[in-house]
Symmetry: C2
Subunit: 386 residues, 2 copies
């Protein structure tokens, strides 16, 4: 109990890939040099390969929200009708942002923990044929729910609207076939499955989205996608890049390429499955049982218990940071992440710690029962005979 | 399974304390400057405080074996009679070393897994009253056994012999009252409970040891304790110090001071207890059940199984490095460490992984059973009601 290692188990920032962290030490590099252009160009190429798209991929010095704003301010025009699918705190951000830029946002709301179905989106687009864009979260980090992006992509592709996806926690945790599913803008952030600190956002932009952006009339300067694209083609960024984070991203992408993006996704999905099995075995309820995301598992606190006690238990007993619910869900749920640099040993430790925390709060727990449920998921996936 | 974090679970090198690792980045410092003298002096003072001794404490640029040699070559004379207590591979190193320097070594051997008792040492010293030194391991890393240093110190203190203790894995994992127990030379290494990479050795030297060393006639140059002491008093080292590791040690000592050395020891002892409970619950046998060390737990592989399969299982399934047996014990036992920057979440993960590895090798295992045994040790120590 006297040594408590710091363990970052939140859905971003996430655990860092150590060699990426170490690569940041080479930051005494000037960004307008051939060396850096080579690095930046290679990083962009690796990112594009990892995202698995032929669309343009751009990196911005911003948090993920910056790339969300860039997609609004660069691709739309004042008063345009858009559909905003929202089912949590990050969905609400799309709503606020599109309104802030004067778009005419039609909200498609789902309750927290639930998702907006493809059927509802299809109906909305049929009812409003002049919709110019659809905004959504691939994985809604605040509730641990995942949208059916594949089915929705197929629906939006049939219209003239562009499909803008906040995949900040979706990338690396769920399959996202950008080209095959018609995902026009896909947004990611460095501090998620990419295993490096926050500070970089990136996005892919389809030909359909570029085309739509040509007539955009919204004000923007720093987030200038066309300018970034022009510079990216030369291995440069429009404004001063975050050199340390580019070095980190370069190292992390080499690792992700060696693992394989599909396997990184499979890893998150398996850890999420093991975590769901464990908490269910412990008698806890999932917050999004219908469409659970693999980025983060949101779990309801036992009836009558503030989930903050569980968050506090992780911190004080085990030095581990997990996430409470956000906004109105605070105190109701707790969230453990699986995105990026997480492995099964993490799950075992988290579940054993959770069992102790619950026991300390008077919840009847059979020690090892949740761990065993997670172990069974491992054993099944690894073909370990029982 | 696709992400396997590297976890270093061996009895040295041990898991690194991240801020100590980061501190190494400030190595662009010259060692003959006021800044470095301040750092070096502070590090020596902190080390002395953490060791809890009023004896002189010196740091050498060497692995632990270098400090062992320094204690022989600086404090003894050719042909002197010494008692070497040995019960494993590191004890044998004392025997080889004292012989290499021409000492007349009386071996006191215990079988691997066993220890030399204070009674045997007492009898040996009574039989040979002209013994000038006693050499021993506090914790014999190769077998996971701990000697009764307190009782032995009391026995040696009554003689004119000096007591030289290889506490390389003992420091930070067992109580060692250097001044109170009459421990004349206590040797440590950086890559153990001190949570930093290998490359530094240190030792404390009592007045009795200095006095004895005055007449030493053995050849030495690099390992010159008197010269190191003279330099240390000025905040310097005799030869070029390992600046990066001094920076790391400085940071790690600040952390150890904040935890408290007694609590660091209690931590290792509790983790060792939890690990013993877990492996016993899984039906495995401890290799040193009588005098188990808290530095490392040595466990016999199930009958008929090569322990290398368990070591390999940790590496390939979980990216974790545990230790096989050394020398003749290779294939018989496996060893997991607890010294330094280890916590309960590590134990939970290690035990759950071990359960899976055993199951994969066809050993009947009830998933979660070993973890539950470790959790009970936590719960008892933390006062979590069950």
């Amino acid at each position: 109990m006297h040594i408590r290692k710091q363990r970052l188990l939140t859905p971003g920032p996430t655990p860092l890939y150590p060699p990426a962290l170490h690569a940041m030490m080479a930051s005494d590099i000037h960004h307008r040099t051939e060396d850096f252009r080579k690095l930046y160009g290679e990083t962009l190429a690796d990112l594009k390969q990892v995202l698995g798209t032929s669309n343009d991929v751009l990196i911005l010095v911003a948090s993920g929200t910056g790339a969300m704003e860039a997609s609004v301010s660069n691709l739309f025009s004042r008063g345009e009708k858009v559909v905003v699918c929202y089912a949590g705190k990050f969905g609400e951000r799309w709503l606020e942002m599109t309104k802030a830029f004067g778009l005419n946002a039609i909200p498609l709301k789902a309750e927290y923990g639930d998702v907006v179905t493809p059927q509802r989106l299809e109906a909305a687009l049929e009812a409003e044929p002049d919709v110019k864009g659809v905004f959504i979260q691939a994985s809604e980090t605040s509730t641990g729910a995942a949208h059916d992006i594949q089915a929705m992509g197929r629906i939006v592709a049939k219209t003239s609207a562009i499909f803008v996806i906040d995949a900040i926690t979706g990338l690396g945790t769920m399959p996202l076939d950008i080209d095959g599913w018609g995902l026009d803008v896909v947004i990611g952030g460095s501090q998620k499955a990419f295993m490096i600190p926050p500070g970089l956002a990136f996005l892919s932009v389809s030909a359909k989205a570029w085309k739509k952006g040509e007539t955009s009339d919204l004000p923007h300067y720093y987030f200038d996608l066309k300018k970034e694209k022009k510079n990216a083609d030369k291995g440069e960024s429009a404004y001063t890049p975050s050199t340390s984070l580019i070095l980190a991203l370069n190292a992390a992408l080499k690792y992700i390429k060696s693992v394989g993006m599909d396997k990184l996704v499979a890893n998150a999905q398996l850890l999420a499955k093991a975590t769901r099995a464990a908490v269910t075995e412990l008698g806890l309820e999932l917050f999004s049982p219908g469409s659970p995301a693999a980025s983060v598992t949101a779990v309801k606190a036992p009836p009558g218990m503030d989930s903050g006690l569980i968050v506090k238990g992780f911190r004080t007993r085990f030095g581990a940071i997990i996430a409470n619910g956000q906004g109105s869900m605070k105190g109701q749920i707790f969230r453990v992440a699986h995105l990026g640099y997480f492995d099964f040993a993490d799950v075992f430790a988290i579940v054993a710690a959770l069992e102790i925390i619950l026991a300390a709060e008077g919840v009847p727990v059979k020690f090892g029962a949740g761990v065993a449920a997670a172990q069974r998921v491992y054993a099944e996936a690894a073909g370990v005979a029982r």
